[in-house]
């Protein structure tokens, strides 16, 4: 916490401003501390947070785990049902077969090979029709889904907060026009925009990759993020609107602080709580949107795998001739548990950060 005060002071300008900022920071600090305490007391939210942390760690360390490759094909006539770990814990025969991995992931795979050799876990959750291990696909798919969600959320954060805070702070005619633009964008069916952007991106993929080093996935994340900033902008603008005539803002203005400074140093930290709450709610929405795009066949490319892709594959299996239940249940379970946890954390954070509820528990 001392650090946080440090950065505020480090950025401080005049004496009075520093004083005011310190006062504001002091208040903020107790808010965060209080929120943290309240979050820990909310058992559902706390365990959800722990679950998410473990889950993120597993996703990050996926290359290190002794899982089969999520890619190697072993064509089968039919998907193979799960084999319980106590029946078959694992087997040999791991092949180093992935899409192009990052440098870190390559080192992790090196470590995995050093640790486990060619030993890999058995098909505990079954395989799909192409003989690929469902557990491995769920774990590797989580990486894609988390990446999509985080990238899109950050993108929406960057655009939405800036836009909303500026509109709210500047107010008047500018605010009016900026918000009308948001209204107009709201009225365009975003699915059109996505289809168009994805097609256009595909068209220029070679140029983008060669010239700018941006791959298709990155653009995919940005596109989704670019859609989700609208609500964020509205929320932030509403908050800033109620704060722009607060005394500490007037004081900063009197002291000659620039607009940029006022918006980013004084206003944004004060709306951070609502932004965080909204962010935890955006991430599940983005994950569902990724699944929706996969349903339309506009998702990420094989051999890469995402939860959306797995969920779609599973939903295709619903029929009374032969229900390959492991293809339906496990991906849905992983996705459901994660999104549930995210939502619960979001709820918990909102409760914890809502000043009106403070001290009432």
């Amino acid at each position: 916490m001392a650090d946080e005060r440090g950065w505020s002071l480090g950025l401080g300008g005049g004496d009075l401003e520093r004083l005011l900022a310190e006062a504001a920071q002091h208040k903020g600090e107790s808010l965060w501390q209080d929120a943290w305490r309240r979050l820990r007391r909310n058992r559902t939210a706390w365990w959800s947070l722990v679950f998410l942390a473990v889950f993120t760690a597993v996703a990050f360390l996926a290359p290190l785990l002794p899982l089969p490759s999520p890619v190697t094909l072993d064509l089968q006539l039919e998907p193979q049902p799960p084999v319980a770990p106590w029946t078959e814990l694992g087997r040999h025969g791991f092949e180093r077969d992935y899409w192009e991995l990052s440098w870190i992931d390559e080192r992790l795979v090196d470590a995995r090979v050093a640790l486990f050799g060619d030993w890999q876990t058995g098909p505990w959750l079954g395989t799909d029709a192409k003989g690929r291990d469902i557990l491995a696909r769920i774990v590797w798919g989580s990486r894609t889904s988390i990446l999509v969600a985080l990238a899109a959320a950050l993108c929406s954060l960057a655009i939405g907060v800036t836009y909303g805070a500026l509109a709210g702070y500047l107010g008047g005619a500018i605010d009016n026009v900026m918000m009308r633009i948001v209204d107009i964008l709201y009225s365009i069916p975003f699915i059109f925009v996505v289809i168009f952007l994805i097609t256009i991106v595909n068209e220029y993929r070679a140029e983008l990759e060669d010239t700018y080093g941006i791959d298709r996935e990155t653009i995919f994340y940005l596109v989704i993020g670019a859609i989700y900033w609208l609500t964020m902008a509205r929320v932030v603008r509403g908050q800033v609107l109620s704060l722009r005539h607060a005394e500490f803002i007037d004081a900063a203005r009197v002291l000659g602080a620039s607009t940029r400074r006022i918006v980013f140093v004084h206003l944004v930290p004060n709306v951070l709580s609502i932004v965080i709450v909204y962010l935890t709610l955006t991430i599940p929405a983005v994950m569902l949107f990724e699944a929706f795009l996969s349903f339309l066949g506009l998702g990420i490319e094989p051999p890469k795998v995402s939860w959306g892709l797995l969920a779609v594959d599973g939903s295709e299996m619903v029929n009374p001739v032969r229900l390959y239940w492991w293809l339906v249940l496990f991906p849905a379970g992983a996705m459901g548990a994660t999104l549930l946890a995210l939502n619960l954390v979001g709820d918990g954070l909102r409760d914890a950060l809502d000043p009106k509820l403070r001290g009432k528990d």
Binding site: L75, L77, S315, E316
Partner: protein, 706 residues
């Protein structure tokens, strides 16, 4: 309050839903997609064809088993000795649903309408086998045409006294077949009336294109091809002949004398009566003159774009709704049809309700009173609807359950006249090297694909044209075929490695560039691409990426040759090798690989004009052999049909075009069903066969069949 309102709304919604209730039809099947139109002239798809076959009838129909032509509206026909003229005799009792008799004039009207550029028929080229048909379509109404000795020419007045001229008229068609032009006119030259602008060989003589008035040549089209065939492909567009300066008074004089006719008049007064090979000597006789002998012409006559439409239907609609008659005449309440069924009800993306037509000449042999045609595009949903008894026929179950469907009596995949293959972009290195293409082709284990991915008894393909086209044999590209699968694959892979090394790639050579397999959004295409990519990686060490594009973008990429390797397929329109092979000629519209082979082009052209059937097939065999030697394509497998059909449905037969004819359908009685089941091979799993126990037979069906 809010609850009360909502309750009200809910009741309203339910009422709305219940209000549209329809009594169940006798039979229901899934068409897979909404039909784009019911106008026979402008359709081009399988779902549309299925509905049109129920509501219209052409001169011939097809035998549901063999697809041989059977009498339809025509009760008999003859072919002239030179095999260029068909005479169709129409039956006297053929009726439209408005009571009018179906006459030869109806066909004349419908086929001219089909060819007419204003109709903009996608399939118009199917009738270009008729003499003058192609030029009839390509005539541009915005131009003027010379009628008389001179010509064949069209005129377009760019400015007063300044005209552009080009080749015109069906007369030119006799020239097709590899002739070359010699352009005589020079830029700036003064040309007198009656002078030839250009010449071409004709038999032993030379013929020319002459001017009907004096003129000065301003410039000859620099882009004009010297190949008559190329000129004929686009005579009113890029292939104009020259721009001239003409005295405006001379033009006015020609017009006054009726020598220079506006397009519409030229079509009506010159082409229709004199040049187009269609005529109707009386109401029950239709004479069709062909450009060249066309062995599969009767199959085309039975093809749905050539079904007739009712002229009164269109004329009345045009009169009543001048603004939107083109939509109105096809409304269920207005559409006049001549087939076994008529449209009773239609809702976009939901269903078409067919009702038995009482005016149909053979109504006594039609069993069902009503048929529902659904437009469910989700494969899983379609399968579930079938399995819960809501549908009686679907043509595509999801691939994953096929192993479970195989032993069932209601699933019986049969050879289908379609081919699945990859195109190589031969304009892009390294795919411009035939050795590379051969190597890539050899290193794909087709058996794994047909057994583990498509699963419905598809046959591994080493050639393009599928078996099942009469006397045409299966032509294959060279590969190991000892019969031992593993050994064959090993031999082929070794050969592939050798070919790649020979082409300069692999150990000691250059690194093979990373490339992409392009496919359109679809589970099976994705699966196959994954397998092919992984085999190329495993066997040849190549880095392959997959690129999925939605349908329209995929088509555009293919058309503009913006791909490396691209998933493709071709379904035969009729059972003749021509439908698979004529597309690969140089710059053919459907070639899309950039591949070109002069000998191949020549063979296809010869085959089109060949009147000896055996010689014609031999030319096709040689052509396909050339194609498979150079492999601009990578054949993967020949299709199978995938129909899941209620075992009670009678009159539904497998055939190589997977065409089915509602006219012959009926419900079998329990007795007939039991008889048929007794003949099934042992091990067949019997399934529930919903439907009336007594069956539902056509009024004229023989009682001993029931």
């Amino acid at each position: 309050m809010a609850f009360a309102l909502l309750g009200l709304a809910g009741v309203l919604a339910l009422g709305l839903a219940a209000g549209t209730r329809l009594a169940p039809a006798d039979m229901t099947y899934n068409n897979g997609a909404e039909v784009s139109t019911l106008d026979p002239a402008t359709v081009s798809g399988v779902p549309e064809g299925r509905v049109l076959k129920a509501i219209f009838e052409g001169l011939c129909v097809k035998d549901p088993r063999t697809l041989e032509p059977l009498p339809g509206v025509a009760e008999a026909w003859e072919l002239s000795a030179d095999r260029r003229t068909y005479t169709f005799h129409l039956r006297a009792d053929a009726r439209w649903s408005n009571g009018d008799p179906v006459t030869a004039q109806d066909f004349l009207f419908s086929w001219r309408r089909f060819l007419h550029p204003a109709t903009a028929a996608e399939y118009a080229y199917q009738l270009w086998y008729v003499r003058g048909g192609e030029q009839y379509t390509l005539l541009d109404d915005a131009l003027e045409y010379v009628d008389g000795e001179e010509g064949p020419l069209w005129f377009q007045e760019l400015a007063p006294g300044r005209v552009r001229v080009g080749f015109a008229g069906p007369e030119l068609e006799v020239l097709a077949g590899g002739r070359t032009l010699r352009v005589d006119a020079r830029d700036g030259e003064r040309v007198a009336r009656g002078t030839a602008l250009c010449r071409y060989p004709f038999g032993v003589d030379e013929q020319g294109v002459y001017l009907p008035c004096d003129a000065t040549v301003l410039r000859v089209n620099p882009a004009l091809s010297r190949e008559v065939d190329e000129v004929l492909a686009d005579p009113c567009g890029a292939q104009w002949l020259a721009e001239l300066e003409v005295d405006p008074a001379a033009l006015a004089e020609l017009r006054a004398a009726g020598r220079l006719l506006p397009g519409a008049r030229y079509r009506r007064e010159v082409v229709e009566p004199h040049l187009l090979g269609l005529s109707a000597p009386d109401a029950r006789t239709l004479v069709v003159a062909l450009k060249a002998p066309t062995p599969y012409f009767l199959q085309i006559v039975a093809f749905y774009p050539l079904f007739p439409v009712n002229r009164r239907n269109l004329d009345e609609a045009r009169e009543r709704w001048p603004g939107d008659w083109e939509l109105r005449w096809m409304r269920p309440e207005n559409l006049v049809t001549n087939g076994p069924y008529r449209i009773e009800f239609r809702r976009v993306n939901d269903r078409i309700r067919l009702r038995k037509s009482e005016t149909y000449w053979d109504a006594a042999n039609v069993a069902f009173d009503s048929i529902d045609v659904l437009a469910v595009d989700h494969l899983g949903t379609s399968l579930n609807l079938y399995l819960t008894g809501a549908l009686d026929w679907i043509d595509r179950p999801i691939t994953n359950v096929i192993p479970r469907l195989m032993p069932r009596e209601d699933f019986d995949p049969q050879p289908y006249l379609g081919s699945y293959f990859y195109r190589f972009n031969t304009t892009r290195p390294p795919f411009d090297d035939p050795r590379v293409r051969r190597a890539l082709s050899l290193a794909v284990d087709r058996r794994a694909i047909v057994e583990k991915i498509t699963k419905a008894g598809e046959r591994a393909a080493w050639g393009l044209a599928p078996p099942g086209m009469g006397a045409y044999p299966t032509v294959e590209t060279a590969h190991a075929r000892s019969g031992d699968v593993a050994a064959d694959l090993a031999t082929d892979v070794a050969e592939a490695r050798r070919l790649l090394a020979e082409a300069g790639f692999g150990p000691g050579g250059a690194e093979f560039p990373t490339f992409e397999i392009l496919y359109n959004t679809d589970q099976t295409h994705k699966d196959i691409a994954e397998v092919v990519a992984s085999e190329w990686k495993q066997h040849l060490g190549l880095n392959v990426k997959l690129l999925n594009q939605e349908w329209k973008v995929y088509l555009d990429s293919q058309k503009n040759k913006d791909y490396d390797v691209c998933r493709s397929a071709w379904i035969g329109d009729y059972a003749d090798p021509n439908t698979f092979l004529d597309m690969w000629v140089t710059d053919g519209d459907n070639n899309r690989t950039g591949w070109s082979n002069a000998r191949y082009d020549e063979l296809i052209r010869q085959a089109a004009a060949e009147s000896d059937e055996a010689a014609r097939l031999a030319q096709f065999v040689e052509a396909e052999g050339l194609l498979l030697e150079e492999l601009p394509i990578l054949p993967l497998y020949y299709y199978s049909t995938r129909n899941l059909v209620n075992p009670r449905l009678g009159g539904f037969h497998a055939n190589v075009l997977d065409e089915h004819f509602p006219k012959f359908w009926y419900w079998k009685s329990d007795a007939e069903l039991a008889r048929d089941r007794a003949a099934l091979p042992p091990g067949t799993v019997l399934v529930d066969a919903p439907g009336p126990a007594a069956g539902k037979y056509a009024p004229a069906a023989r009682t001993e069949d029931r």
